[in-house]
Amino acid sequence: MLATRVHPLKHHHMTRFHCLFIALAFMSGCASLHHAQLGQIDNRQGRSGKPFVILMSETGVSAEEIGQIARVTNSRAGNALGDAAAIIALFQMGPRTGNPVYSERYAERLLDRIYENCPSGQVTDLMSIREDRKYPVISGEIVKVTGLCLDANPVAQVNGVSK
């Protein structure tokens, strides 16, 4: 009877181990770049402005990874979950960049966001980046835009080019 009881300290260590494992799994997020494009650069003398960064993101979920992890448990419930994940994956066919997300509108307000950062519209050095940060099962699907909002003062003329 005594031999089957779990020592309280051992149980405590197991919980700590699990917490550590979960924390490590989520710390192992890998960032990957899918697309980057740079626009016009206004690098004339006398130019000054305020840089800005716009981040828009949505949570991506991988049904395939859920199925794989569930099957690793090798239990009846795990296998059933794996089968369910495989069926759901059939409803998610098509070209993908990163994991599927459940809102396609998270980046639609990009133009408004640029004007929120630069109401004058004097924007240059715009760089559009599509990347993701991947964790087990879930990911952050990110659209990032960086730019420079030029000051309202006219830019000095260089080589006959004026603003």
Binding site: H34, H35, Q37, G39, Q40, V61, A63, I66, I69, A70, T73, A77, G78, L81, A84, A85, I88, L90, F91, Q92, M93, G94, P95, R96, T97, G98, P100, V101, Y102, S103, E104, Y106, A107, E108, L110, L111, I114, Y115, P119, S120, G121, Q122, V123, T124, L126, S128, R130, V137, I138, E141, V143, V145, L150
Partner: protein
């Protein structure tokens, strides 16, 4: 193990909605740079339905471009954002193009 199963089930339930994938979002130059109130917002979107890789419509990007042009026939369109995404489905999917910009009317 019970917590992990619960987490996986919750995550699986999240996947049952309509899924999408945004491939690319690009923003063009702001030239000439004007404020939002100086112009008019224009928008154009088109779709391409694909069944198991087969499709009949291969002009949907050109169509979006023409639609955007027709929204601002005599002005300048600046700050154009282009979003290319796919709505995933059962043995089929829909590719989508969304273009938005600011139409600046000609002076005078």
């Amino acid at each position: 193990m019970k917590t992990a199963a619960l987490f996986l089930t919750a995550a699986l339930l999240m996947t049952t909605g309509c899924a999408h994938s945004i491939h690319e979002v690009h923003v063009s130059d702001f030239n000439p740079g004007r404020s939002l109130k100086d112009g008019r917002r224009v928008k154009a979107s088109t779709e391409q339905f694909v069944v198991l890789g087969f499709t009949g419509n291969t002009d949907y990007v050109d169509d979006a471009y023409k639609k955007l042009m027709s929204e601002c026939p005599t002005g300048v369109i600046t700050g154009i954002t282009t979003q290319f995404s796919t709505s995933l489905g059962f043995f089929s999917w829909t590719n989508k193009i969304l273009m938005q910009g600011l139409c600046l009317a000609p002076k005078g």
